[in-house]
Amino acid sequence: MGSLRLAGLTKSFGRTEIIKGIDLSVANGEFVVFVGPSGCGKSTLLRMIAGLEDVTTGSVTLDGQDITNVAPAKRGIAMVFQTYALYPHLTVRDNMGLALRQAGVSRAETGAAVDQASTLLDLNPYLDRRPAELSGGQRQRVAIGRAIVRTPKLFLFDEPLSNLDAALRVATRIEIARLHRELGATMIYVTHDQVEAMTLADRIVVMRAGVVEQVGPPMQLYNDPSNTFVAGFIGSPRMNFLKGRALGEQSSIMGVRPEHLSITFSGSAISGSVSHVEALGGETLVYVHTEPHGLLTVRLFGEHHFSVGQAVGLTPDPARVFRFDAEGRRLR
């Protein structure tokens, strides 16, 4: 229950094509994260799956049934919105129960479903409050609860954490991972934050400008990116891109992650000077200005001391270097 298939999905607003042909299968119980920069069409794609946006061409299939033209409420899909979108005039209880009541479920059954979801989310003390009387984190939990109550085949999340502060974001992220384990439901989660993508996903779908760049488990994208876009988007801090020709390489672009670059004082392939240091305690980020590669980031574990302007050499871990052609495609 809950396998989704997108086939040749496109979407145009007027003459601009926003989604440019997406094919994707999501297995039952899988947690898939759509990730990509703002404006690449993640929300539009999610709304098309939900039925809130007409599909220009292509089809959406859920559990083998074509739902391309089925009304949103009849698809067995629940959605959690970025802005929570709680009904301001209803109590938490009624917010969570509305969908079932609309579907004709009895008051008693709805009440039981709401109680179960509110227990799961620790919302019991707030059931009779209005959304205006809740904090941001509580509102987000109500929005999640409203989705759970419907026991949908598929959950959709559209950047659910982006309006929360950093601490709450981590807590809610863990909460969502726990819910996924406990409910075993299929979830599709949209974010522009690669940390959320890496930590939550079974599989990540990296999008750029309406097309899918690469699909795979987080570690596969990290260890085996198929182009410079994916390589640069997955992993934090961002991968360094060096000019291959200047290093006597065949490939025009060489990618090295900050954690695979070490600072050396003899026999270094690259030389430069320290331009900035960020000490985070557990790790130290050293920004080194080099010619002709520009600013490179080095990630060192533990505490290290460098002074700005200090001359240093850099050596990449040869086993961890990615080679790309001039168009950014991976050379294997």
């Binding site: 409420a73 899909i77 959605m79 979108a85 301001p88 209005r130 409203r146």
Partner: protein
């Protein structure tokens, strides 16, 4: 924020507002105090407060005895309230369609509906009269209600569609996911959220309708359909004007519109201050 907390500026702002309020209220004040004075006192000292010597409610007794003032009031009330309800309902529905749905000619339709703001409806008086004669609606309140609905709609559509564009798409989409119909989304989610705008539109629509003399005079001058503004004119003669009665009628005419205004302005404030709307 810094500007607002500055005491000098706050004082200046209040001074300006108080002066404006005094200027705006002055004619109303003159009408009300003179309506209970004798004719001599009205002309002798128009700015003076009524004293026991100058006290004379003859204006009110004349008004209440003469003609069918209660009937005129009722006509005004029916016309104003029904027109207002129609303007709000149809204006809000049109605004929702324009702001929510993408369809061919959406922008053009919006411009067409807003055009009425710039063109005074009185320019069409002759055509309207011909239409009403043809439809057999002359000397009915229906004629007035239709004209006033048409008169109020452009501004209502314009203001309300601006506000409705600001209602969160996520909220409407959440409603759709939960199985609410488009009507339910309109009436249960969107309308409560634009209530302050509705109150504003109501006030701006209501006052010109209540005060209008032109269309009642042309479309419905019969004794049974006279509105209070038209009805009060009987006291203004070509040669003699019964000032007591005119002032009393005007003072009475202020009351209902004041009550409606108070109702809407309370709605307005409640809509702004409370996050919960129900």
């Amino acid at each position: 924020m810094a500007a607002r907390s500055h005491p000098g500026r706050a004082l200046a702002a209040h001074a300006v507002l108080i002066v404006y309020t005094l200027i705006a209220l002055f004619p109303v004040w003159i009408i009300v105090i003179n309506s209970v004075k004798s004719r001599r006192a009205i002309f002798g000292a128009p700015l003076a407060l009524p004293t026991p010597a100058t006290w004379d409610p003859v204006g009110y007794t004349t008004v209440l005895e003469n003609g069918d003032v209660i009937g005129y009031f009722l006509n005004s009330a029916i016309v104003t309230i029904v027109s207002l309800a129609m303007v709000l309902l149809f204006g809000a529905m049109a605004a929702f369609a324009l702001s929510e749905y993408r369809f061919r000619g959406n922008t053009l339709m919006g411009l067409y509906l807003a055009l009425g703001i710039m063109i005074p409806i009185r320019l069409g008086t002759v055509a309207i009269l011909q239409m009403m004669v043809a439809a057999g609606l002359v000397n009915t309140l229906t004629a007035l209600i239709l004209v006033y609905t048409a008169q109020g709609l452009p501004l209502a559509v314009f203001i309300l569609s601006e506000f409705m564009r600001n209602v969160s798409d996520d909220l409407k989409n959440a409603g759709r996911m939960d199985g609410l119909s488009e009507y339910a989304i309109f009436f249960r989610l969107v309308l409560p959220l634009v209530r302050p705008a509705m109150a504003t539109v109501a006030v701006f629509t209501m006052i010109p309708i209540w005060n209008d003399l032109w269309f009642p005079l042309i479309l419905a001058p019969s004794e049974e359909t006279k509105t209070i503004t038209l009805g009060s004119q009987v006291f203004i003669g070509q040669f003699v004007t019964n000032w007591n009665a005119v002032l009393a009628a005007l003072a009475l005419a202020i009351l209902p519109v004041l009550v409606l205004y108070l109702i809407f302005s309370r709605q307005l404030i409640r809509g702004i201050t409370a996050g919960a709307v129900k």
